[in-house]
Symmetry: C2
Subunit: 254 residues, 2 copies
DNA sequence: GAGTGGTCTAGACCACCTT
DNA sequence: AGGTGGTCTAGACCACTCA
């Protein structure tokens, strides 16, 4: 009742929109630890009666906190405090399972599907194989402490990894390539950009389509310069933090 | 008029929310090139009359597109199609001015302030100097094709760079450290995570507080392992794409 | 079945940008 | 001065989750 609606009395202009004030109150609760990671927030209608604001205003505050990565939602269930992000270092590629565990969290992997398909032109181009060459596509979902945080689709050249499907694909695929097929990654190319989660990824992560996310594309090369793994990952944006530690190439100045 | 409001007749349940359908129409226009980068979208009220939806619904579609990085807003001016992102490679650190230009865009830098301040405990810890040691803090704003895309705050140890303020700080600071002070970066540590733009950064970028963004923290070391540059950058999330190309450390398997 | 978030309407006043 | 987005209200029905 502060701005719109029938005039009642005069008030000083608010220094800050209501929804940001509410955001700050909730953010403070999270910072204080009064709201612990994983804990559920009061329902929107409850916040409404507490604060007297319209539901739309409440939701604006919640969206804001979501964009900041402080809270997340479970569809039609409620809003929850986000756990801290894990740090992902593509240079020390130790595999999801190990680096998450190293950070004191509980990783889990679920292989959603493994299919063998002919390479589309774009994929053939990446692998430098003929279009139509057989490729394995592995779809996996990975979780931290029981919350699904990423879905990925890994493509590998079927010719290089005969019988791949016989192995347990819930661990490090890179490790399997090395141990069973003698394929070692000596170079990684990583592309990363903020995105909104596309429909399919959102579905698999159990979030609303369009939730902010992070796309990570990783291309792995062996010592002969062949692409041996092409991985497209969609992360919940509040779950990851990228960390790279690199030696600058000597001639890099400018 | 399709879902809420007085019942009029029966309709099949919509397969997709209205706002996503509108999103798709606009996204298609952008993909087609009917809406060019930098071009302004019709106003919200105009879209309202075109589509017959309530303004809130229109705005939901626009927010969605914003989260995806396809459009951005200029406060109280309108919605615009986002230009393509530039690729940022922290391993080939060539300086903003050069790598943006390399990608066929027009970079610009504006130094907002240079101050000399005593190191706070956290900063002192990073630089391994005594708390209270003198530091230079350079604030800059950088643009691409006339659009402000990032603000940064660079901290350097004043003792290592006497008279820093006498140089032109709109170019590559790394280059200045090298040419004038013999300080070469041999190692970079980069941390990156999605964030919402904090109040101060948002103001300097001329966007609404809470707009999605990307935080990049870069720590540069010289050959003696000293931190010679500590840089905290806030990017518009639709303006950047990170690319890293790295040789995997031999003992990294796992 | 009660409660949750998801979607939607139809208004309003405001601060600010643009011309 | 007119138009833009920014904020806000007060309702509604829906699909879905959860107990």
């Amino acid at each position: 009742m502060s701005r719109a609606g029938p005039v009642e009395e005069d008030k000083p202009p608010p220094a800050m929109p209501q929804y940001l004030a509410l955001r700050d109150r909730i953010a403070e609760g999270i910072g204080d630890g009064k709201l612990a990671p994983g804990q559920r927030l009061p329902s929107e209608r409850q916040l409404q009666t507490e604060s007297g604001a319209a539901r739309g205003t409440i939701r604006e505050a919640l969206f804001q906190l979501e964009a900041e990565g402080l809270i997340y939602r479970r569809d039609r269930s409620g809003w929850y405090v986000s756990p801290p992000p894990v740090t992902y270092d593509p240079t020390r590629w130790a595999g999801f399972m190990s680096y998450v565990a190293e950070q004191g969290r509980k990783p889990a992997t679920e292989t959603l599907s493994v299919v063998e398909v002919p390479a589309l032109p774009a994929v053939a181009d990446i692998f430098r194989v003929a279009p139509g060459a057989r490729m394995f596509v592995v779809s996996r979902r990975r979780s931290i402490d029981g919350r699904a945080v990423l879905v990925e689709r890994i493509t590998v050249d079927a010719q290089l990894v005969p019988g791949l499907t016989e192995h347990d694909l819930n661990g490090s695929l890179t490790q399997i390539l090395k141990t069973h097929y003698g394929l070692s990654v000596v170079r990684n190319r990583v592309d990363m950009r903020p995105c909104a989660l596309v429909r399919s990824a959102a579905e698999q992560l159990g979030v609303k389509a369009g939730t902010p996310g992070l796309m990570v594309v990783r291309t792995s090369f062996d010592e002969r310069g062949r692409v041996i793994e092409y991985d497209r990952e969609y992360w919940r944006h509040d779950a990851i933090r990228l960390h790279v530690d690199i030696n600058v190439q000597p001639a890099a100045g400018g």
